[in-house]
Symmetry: C2
Subunit: 394 residues, 2 copies
């Protein structure tokens, strides 16, 4: 076990207090949480069962499995129907407004829990938890820094993994192994059903232009019709770029980072587009801080892409993504999202992945992605690493 | 792209007809499916959107992304609210009973789709699709055979990956890489929210006795409190077993297979327990066929474990799993499940993973798992490979 990934009691109390404040503001008496990511956020543990957090009391862990879960307030149950009696035994009244994870648990799970608690009204614990999770505590930021460090270390080693004649997937397998050896937990947590991916994406050459069914910035055809995303098994050829956008899942908290590698000589326009992305990052680093509008960042990015002459290549060609960045944390796609229609302002403690990218169907994708911590006075890049295109091979 | 993973139109029509028959039997007019596994099952494609399958017509694909999805009956939409108008334009009436994936889509997704279609009643498309998927077509069986072949090939190479002083995770990383090089798609699809895992499980020594929060047969503490399953970073020591239970995800269809490796000398009782598992497999292979009761298989397995003197070690120690096998296919945990309370009878075309295992806290886990195709006259083991404990090292 990696003991540094256990949040302390004090750390958990900070989070629970934040969530309680959001519960109060929404008029709810309690929330009941069942999904691994939110269980870990609120209790530092993953188990089969529920954490019940009332606005005015201790969180209680109702646990089906494992049978030996350590910790305070762990109450064994066989099924959720056991919970009301156990709460009554503790002289706790059932809440008249209960929040459940309506954007995460299935319809049938929701109906079952509603029937168990019989609240006058239900609300959406998913929205509350995702909102609370946008502002990272210092402990969470430290986890992100640890992920970033390993993420950077892994990317530095990528050129040494390449050899001539390699297929895109072969390079990806070697990067995946390196990630694991560097401490990647493997699992890549995404939010929502339209986000299936393995450990991340490697896009070489024309495959970068293949539209994706998913909410990722770019696509790629993938190996199989059952997982149409990322590397497609093509050989990496001279004149192509290789864009690496793998998950920084070296702690429970994910960093997101993209770098580009070239094999052979690239057209001048491709280099200029990459430079435009680097300039956009410079501008982001110089201008963004708590209070910056997410829509403004998106609109300025689009404007800079247009000024550089690459609007038609920005965030895809056949299909263009309508965002340039997103929050990251326990999941890769957290709020806020940097889109034209966002009404969100950045807040200190948010962690944002910024990823302005360009696609050239003949050559591949260029542009970088960094993960930034937002502060009152600016942003801090957690993923500092050479931003130029790195040549592969001799 | 691996073109052999594209089901033909005829293949898809067989599946659609089966699902239509189940729809009719349940009194439904149509089902609307949105999850990747069921989209792939019904259309051979994964996209963001919905497949609408009426009892008396062609399936229609309502597609948000990708913008260039090929195929017949592909209708672009921006949002599900577009669908009723598009159906009306095709002179199709909305169904009065509509099945939605109530055990897969979120509560909010369900409510949204219900509001779009305004059916008189809804029902559970998850149950219908999971039932249809239990009986594999010859094409699906061929996919499972391909997975099995690569699965076997990978396990054969495991002894060559081991070296003295290795940590459990180090061996796992090398197996994962080998799986990828042998064609693993990486992603390991499970059903339900209590089944988080990466590419599979490797359990060495006492870690095999650590109870799991999840619905897997065995647990293991894992590396991080955010993913408490599998290898825990301990060094593989003399006198321990290493149980490898990785996903056979070499096609969209998963095989499930467990083999055991030993390092140094094991206690005699541990060998005898392993032999009991092998005997249980022999009995399974000789007696099971279409019509066999799932509960009977479970009960006979428990009885054989008791007769061998290892009831207290069967399927765990601190926490014992209450099943000895399960269906496999596009997901690792498909119906039927081999439990004491099951009322299911096996049917020809079902594919069942049988995994009677024993845990010895000092030594580790033993026992094997094979994936069997059920036929009218018996079962066929798809994962034929030496079943004895394989020694590692010199």
């Amino acid at each position: 076990m990696i003991h540094s990934q256990y949040p302390s009691k004090e750390e958990l109390e900070v989070r629970q207090t934040n969530v309680r404040n959001l519960l109060k503001a929404s008029g709810a008496g309690a929330c009941l949480v069942a999904t691994p990511v939110n269980l870990y956020y609120l209790t530092g543990k993953v188990f089969a069962g529920y954490v019940y957090l009332p606005v005015d009391g201790e969180p209680l862990c109702f646990v089906r499995r494992p049978v030996d879960l350590p910790g305070e307030n762990v109450i064994p149950i066989r099924k959720p129907e056991d919970i009301p009696g156990l709460l009554a035994g503790r002289k706790q009244r059932l809440p008249s407004v209960l929040l459940l994870e309506a954007d995460q648990i299935t319809h049938h799970e929701f109906l079952r829990l509603e029937a168990v608690f019989r609240p006058k009204a239900t609300g959406n614990a998913t929205a509350v938890l995702r909102k609370a999770r946008t502002i990272k505590t210092p402990w969470e930021t430290a986890q992100l820094r640890m992920s970033a460090k390993k993420h950077i270390e892994t990317y530095r080693q990528i050129p040494a993994l390449f050899h001539e004649g390699m297929k895109d997937v072969e390079l990806q397998y070697e990067i995946e192994r390196l990630m694991r050896k560097n401490g990647s937990l493997g699992i890549f947590r995404t939010f929502g059903s339209n986000m299936e991916i393995f450990m991340g994406s490697l896009l070489a050459g024309e495959n970068a232009a293949t539209p994706s069914p998913f909410d990722f910035a770019l696509g790629g055809g993938g190996l199989s019709p059952c997982l149409p995303i990322g590397a497609n098994g093509g050989t990496i050829r001279p004149g192509q770029t290789v864009m690496v956008d793998m998950a920084g899942n070296f702690t429970p908290y994910l960093t997101d980072m993209t770098r580009v590698y070239s094999y052979g000589t690239l057209p001048d326009a491709v280099h200029r587009a990459h430079q435009a992305s680097v300039r956009m990052h410079r501008r982001f680093a110089e201008t963004v801080k708590a209070g910056t509008s997410c829509a403004d960042i998106y609109n300025q990015s689009v404007e800079m892409a247009r000024e550089a002459g690459f609007a038609a290549h920005f965030m895809g060609t056949v299909q263009q993504a309508r965002f340039v960045g997103h929050g990251v944390g326990l999941e890769i796609n957290e709020p806020p999202v940097l889109t034209a229609r966002s009404e969100d302002l950045l807040q200190a403690g948010m962690v944002i992945a910024y990823e302005p990218k360009f696609v050239f169907p003949e050559t591949g994708a260029v542009g970088i992605e960094n993960t930034f911590l937002v502060t009152e006075t600016g942003v801090e890049n957690l993923t500092v690493l050479e931003e130029a295109i790195v040549p592969l091979g001799l």
